[in-house]
Amino acid sequence: MKEAFTVPKTYAEINEKIRKGQAVVVTAEEMIDLVEEEGVKKAAEKVDVVTTGTFGPMCSSGAVLNTGHSTPRMKISKAWLNDVPAYCGLAAVDLYIGVTEPQQDDPLNTVHPGQFRYGGGHVIEDLIARKDVRLVAEAYGTDCYPRKALDTWINVKTLNQAYLLNPRNSYQNYNVAVNLSTQRDIYTYMGVVKKDLGSASFCSAGQLSPLLNDPYYRTIGIGTRIFLAGAQGYVYWEGTQHSPSEARGENGVPKCGSGTLAVVGDLKDMDTEFFRGASMLGYGCTAAVGIGIPIPILDEEMARYTAVKDADIVAPVVDYSHNYGHNEGKPLGYVSYAELKSGTININGRDIPTTPLSSYRKAQQIAGILKEWIARGEFFIQEPIQLLPTPDTGQKFKPLKERPVSGGVA
């Protein structure tokens, strides 16, 4: 991979240009055309930053809230926000609300498929919308924290801290879900998937998606400044299930899940246009999160990576009626995002209509906003303070190896 680059640029040089309002910024879509027209070398010389974007359901998201102390003080041990349980095993008045948590009395899947109308993601959306949210809390009471019950409205404007803290977002690539069962439609986190190969769900912005434009995590690492739900946020760690050592195509792009990011950002600056609570029929609650990441064009290699197009990115087609749930079988095949976005893919000789879950329109919007921020000198590129684990670490997402407990329940 080591070549002599003709046009290496540094982060400092790019930021200096941004400061002067001279940086050339294009979206990952525009970069494709530019490289096609002018070649990698010219594009690398010309362009300073390429912006990416994605907006789709992202479980493993949640928010940290510090409510401040009541009078008298209370060490909250159980809490509900608009009837959605929040985690309070952190401190006295620090709460964590996760997006997949349903409302306390939700009927779940007792009548299948359950609707899951309101959950943690909706609470966070309401907070971002600056709506009042009802906080009900209980405690056992201590000498220093005597209070035992609380029922009050809170608002994001008056919380001490309220920040999104998402352990896993921005999957580099993802499965395409199909249903081999001839008996019934299935209800999954990939939406409704129709029986007998009746539909195929996919969930990536493809050529606009952040990690697909920096396949080896050369510029996206810990400390990278990003667009997060309308605010400026940061990558704070590798995401859970980060799995860099998956099979890759010749262009370096992984052919399945692989890389992920853990991201953080201030709820108070966010916009509900780019954060939405979501209800997946028969599956549960989650949230859709908008993320955009700027990629500095340090050299020709980065220019080549950011010119990746849908036709060159493939995803595995996986049966979700049985194989996925039981960790069995192999993908039924691989299809490109160009095929997925054409509306039909062909698997086992059958034409299957495709269903996107990730909003490409919002992904474009995000890449466009980020481009504007940078061009206006409001957003600077942050060099990672540490890189994420790369494929040469051999790191791979492992299944749980169960070690039965004698006398256990399973």
Partner: protein, 135 residues
């Protein structure tokens, strides 16, 4: 000209009669079949949009009723809350009439209310509850 979306139920003995084509020819109407089914009771169910002059529409529907067809207007409407819709596309595979489609160029999800039969399948299938029933 006006368009009405109607639900037509044909009893068994009318199933092989060319009622729809007569309706169109005699009353100068255009039709757009949104859904056609034979139900378990072997009754024919047809949901369609009829377009034509108001007077002709009324005459035509009266005539069809006289032939024994049961006719109801589509009473409910399913509407899209444009602010809530993220244009993801998660709804397009559940819609039986292609009232929800994706523009392959712009990637916008298009809701064509004229094709909608208010079956409500998209209502719970939309992760953002952007499809709403309006009475």
């Amino acid at each position: 000209m006006e368009t009405r979306r109607v639900v037509l139920r044909f009893p068994k003995h009318l199933l092989d009669k060319p009622i729809t084509s007569q309706l169109v020819r005699q009353f100068d109407l255009e039709f757009n079949i949104l859904r056609a089914d034979i139900t378990q009771e072997s009754e024919g169910l047809l949901i369609m949009g009829l377009t034509g002059k108001k007077a002709n529409l009324e005459k035509g529907l009266r005539w069809a009723r006289e032939q024994g067809v049961e006719i109801q207007p589509l009473s409910k409407d399913v509407v899209r809350n444009e602010k809530a819709c993220t244009h993801c596309g998660a709804c397009i595979n559940v819609c039986p009439t292609d009232a929800l489609t994706i523009d392959l160029e712009t990637r916008d999800v298009i809701f064509n209310a004229n094709r909608c039969i208010a079956c409500e399948l998209c209502v719970p299938a939309c992760p953002f509850r952007a499809m709403e029933v309006a009475f």
